[in-house]
Amino acid sequence: MAVYKHSYRRYEGDLTARWQRLLVLPRYAYRGVFQSRFFLIFFVICLIVPLGAALLIYLRHNIGALDLMNIPDDAILPINATFFEWVIQIQGSFAFLLTVFVGPGLVSPDLVNNALPLYLSRPFSRTEYVVGKMSVLMILQSCVTWVPLCVLFLLQASLAEGNWISANTRILVAILLGSAVWILLLSLLAMAISAWVRWKAIAGALMFGVFLVGAGFGETVSALFNTKWGSLFNISSMMQVIWEWLFFGGASETGETVNRLAAGQVPVWSACLALVVIGLCCLFLLSRRIRAYEVVR
């Protein structure tokens, strides 16, 4: 029967599982996001560096190809923790730009158009809403960070001789943990900003502002008080400290112990703590805004 001839009837079929409903939000969001040709081109650009890195790994293990192109062996970077840290930093920057592009449009339109009561009057909690919306960003960021890096790691492992994987398990852990921290931080920041700033352009600018103003303020504090703790206001710098620690531990690649405070960087624990505080602030801001209705007292 044609759909317009149907009269109203109750739904009596099976229902989807709770976790499947979380994926409804990203599925619908991506249809909108990928309609933008600019975004699609940018997303492809984000994958160029991992492709180049894959080529480097391949050449590093293919002496015949190097000879054909007259490239000396030592002209190509060694494939080690430094190489992967370099790639993760570049891909982290792309993840940030993706977040600036997509993040501001996640929550604010729902608040402006009073859509939250529609979500929250269904068997869909505030937490599920936040997780669902965050997953829009997290899936995109994963596509440009840990997923391609893990592919590169596996490519290197398959081409390297001996027990390369067991000798370099730390790199894999660093890729996964470092990406997770960065993705979670960016997603929380973007969600919190989107929940409080109604205009997409301003929210995007604020994302940059949090990083740039924070870095500037941190530098000023460090200079004024002749301390290194000003770096705690610089999110990029803290992430740098965490990535370095994840990839190299307390030692540099040559095995030297690095005194980070003396080298101008804050200790790892303080960077972690600062990021946790930022994350908690974002969660607090979200919890204040993600409500069906705001009660004006």
């Binding site: 759909v3 109203y8 739904y11 009596e12 079929g13 989807t16 909108g32 859509a115 068997p123 007292r297």
Partner: protein, 309 residues
Amino acid sequence: MNPVIEFEKLTVRFGNLEALKDVSGRFSGRSIGLLGPNGAGKTTMIHTLLGFYPPAGGSARIFGKDIVQDAREIKALIGYMPENDSFIAGMTAVRFVAMMAELTGIPANAALERAHEALFYVGLGEARYRTVETFSQGMKQLVKLAQAIVHGPRLLFLDEPTNGLDPPARLRMLRLIREITAHAEMHLVLSSHLLRDVEECCEEVLILKKGEVAVQCNLEEERRSNKKFVELETRGDTSRFIDAIERFGCEWAQSAPRRYKMVLPEGLKISQLYEAASEHEVQLRKFTFKRDSLEDIFLKAMGNENGSL
């Protein structure tokens, strides 16, 4: 009959403000009307039942399930049409309604099919591929209704569904609401400050005043009861006349200056009223018999302690 909604001393507070005070009641009819002036607590009551506000005291149950402990189960059984414009930006009506169905747990294909059906049902079939923000006010109301019924809820909350509608659109909305409750095995809670809307669609009524229950009644029973109502228009000083009719046992309310509505007790003759008017030198300019209406119930509920407005 099993109750649809039960309240027991339900209290909701926002800071120092008590938005609902010890609300108790039990409703088992197909359609329940929530009435009251602005700020009476109608919307707060709906929001509390939907789990948006936690009760500060007391409890409420929907289909026997506690609104706090079984919130998720309850939400799977209800549909909600909010008072204000509510939609998801940049989406066509059919995608918007399908998404809402999917969030309730309907698989994607079935959700899309039901979204088309719901939009045709409410009369937006031809406009279903337009984005919701391009809709007129009336169409936005209809798309809100479509998203509220798309998953086939057992209980539908409609908050001021005829807000901003022109008369023909209002009549169509009321017809739809009556049709849904009559044919779709769905219960309804309709919040409105428009008495006609509630009178046309509801069997039971809860009238709220300053967060408290002013009146709870079954409209069907009220309609069936054969109370004798009269409406009087008077001239002159009525205070002694009113005292006299109170002695006769009349319940009364003043609907406008010099206008009174009265319920005549059994055995009272109309001639006694004329005699009392004559005795106290009150002119009766108009004297009409009237059946009880929701307006009378509402006016009585809104009246102050001595029964006048």
